[in-house]
């Protein structure tokens, strides 16, 4: 399925995503993240510390949602955004020489993407020892502009 232009523009044109996870008691948790969107796989990725609350929540409940939006404090009709809902996959964490080819490639690709998108902020900072990549397998996207909504359903993997 092709993702409509306006959604792609939002996914490519913004730096901050707001990730929501919830624990086994259905208590939500929310954090801002830097993210990247990969058009080929139609997946979103972000990097986080494996001791963070969101990783802990995701190990209890893999459901995840992320919102990326443009906000206009004056005119609500200019508010525009996308919420993607799906499940998260966390890359294995191991010393680099134990990682599978596939994971290594992913790390490499994602990190490069990140570096080009967030050049200004991450400069040459390498991935931290406890950093893991979270991959969001999107099942549904909701797009809004002003009062208008559009909803997209994705086929599940496999």
């Amino acid at each position: 399925m092709r993702i409509p232009e306006e959604i792609r523009n939002i996914l490519y044109g913004n730096y901050f995503g707001y990730v929501c996870t919830s624990d086994k008691n259905d208590q939500p948790h929310l954090t801002p993240v830097f993210f990247i969107y990969d058009e080929n796989s139609q997946k979103l990725f972000f990097i986080t510390n494996d001791r963070s609350k969101k990783v802990k929540n995701l190990s209890e409940n893999p459901n995840i949602s992320i919102t990326i939006d443009i906000r206009d404090p004056v005119n609500p009709f200019n508010n525009e955004g996308v919420m993607a809902q799906g499940t998260a996959a966390i890359t294995d964490k191991a010393p680099i020489y134990f990682l599978s080819e596939e994971t290594l490639q992913l790390y490499y690709d994602i990190y490069h993407e990140f570096k080009s998108k967030y050049q200004k902020v991450i400069e040459n900072k390498p991935l931290g020892e406890n950093d893991v990549i979270i991959q969001i397998n999107v099942e549904k996207m909701v797009y809004w502009k002003g009062p208008h909504f559009k909803s997209l359903k994705f086929k599940k993997d496999e």
Partner: protein
Amino acid sequence: MDNEPVKEKKWIYEEIVGRIPPFSLLSYKYSILLQFLLLLVIGITLGFIFDLEQISLLYGSLAILVAVSWSLLILQLAPTLRKFRAPLSKDENELLERYKGILFHKNHYEAVPGLVIFIPFMFYLYYFGTDLLDMWLGKSPHPILLLFVSLLIWDICYRMGLGLWTSVLALWRSIRLKKLAEKRSELEHTPYTELRYLQKLDINNVFFGLISLLLLPLFKTDAFLVVITLFFMSFVTLTSLYSAYIISIVPWLPPDIYNLVNESSFAYIGTSLKGKTHVTPVVYVFDGQKIFFNTSKEAKKLKIMQENNKVAFLIDKRDMSNIYENKAVLFTGEVKIYGIMDIPMHFIDMLAALKLFMKKYPEYTKKYSTSELPKAWQLTPIIARILVEVKPVKIIYWRGAKQISVPV
């Protein structure tokens, strides 16, 4: 903070009672009930032995009831203050330690006001020719009766003194706390839970004051004592009300977070239903104490919150040019959704929130009012846009890359 075990803080009377079995074996509520019953039994027995009128028994019971109700209220102070966590501000912590120190001073100053009331009152009763004793006990009562009545009078006076002592100290503490709160920096504050404890104690004292009205029938033949009682009642009630009010306007958020919440325009609300999460931006207002956001009646998040009112609510300041300047605060907890049923009880709150929205987002209000909008978006005050209050249980604050957990 020193780590030595906290000594149990007790007032003189409680210390004595706490050492005598069976009172020492009971929790404080049951101990008070037992004292109440014991006094009643003694009073009624004495009444029968000395053949008192029924009205005398009623007067006695009333006095015992007042003393016991006062005990119930005032004895919540020590256990509540014991639960108190230290404020995250050196000055405020010192103030509260000083407050506790004076309140439960080892020299037992708390008994002084009681004595100051008791001694003149006894003189007044025995030497100034009031007919109160006759009214209570009949002509020429037996010395044992007089002894019992004097004991009751001491019980009442001692507690009246405690009422004055605690409400004056509370007012002093509240005024000082409010002043110190204005000088806070960064993350200094006294947590919400602790402020609510203080407020609850003040409200207890309001009731303490009101209960003194029950004494009026005992003094009905003596205009002077009626005036004194009314004066006492007004003093304790008003002092405590004022103290509770001051506590209610002390910010419960430290200045860094207060300013972030106060100055930002948008927030994100995360909800979860059966594990599936949902996150969208919302507009919100902050009145210095409460955080409200707005949602359309048709919104998915509203339907989720109606089933599971646990939320995550995030406010942030984002700046790509300098990420070390980025700040965010996450409130996790519950929401209260205001509906039509809440209008009678919360009308003023709801109206105040609506006004804040109009002030903070004037253009929004204008645009929402136009009728070309879908029904769900039209701003029919209170009804189409649903008002939701965030009630945080936990606060996490990020400054740059640092994550700080802030007690609520």
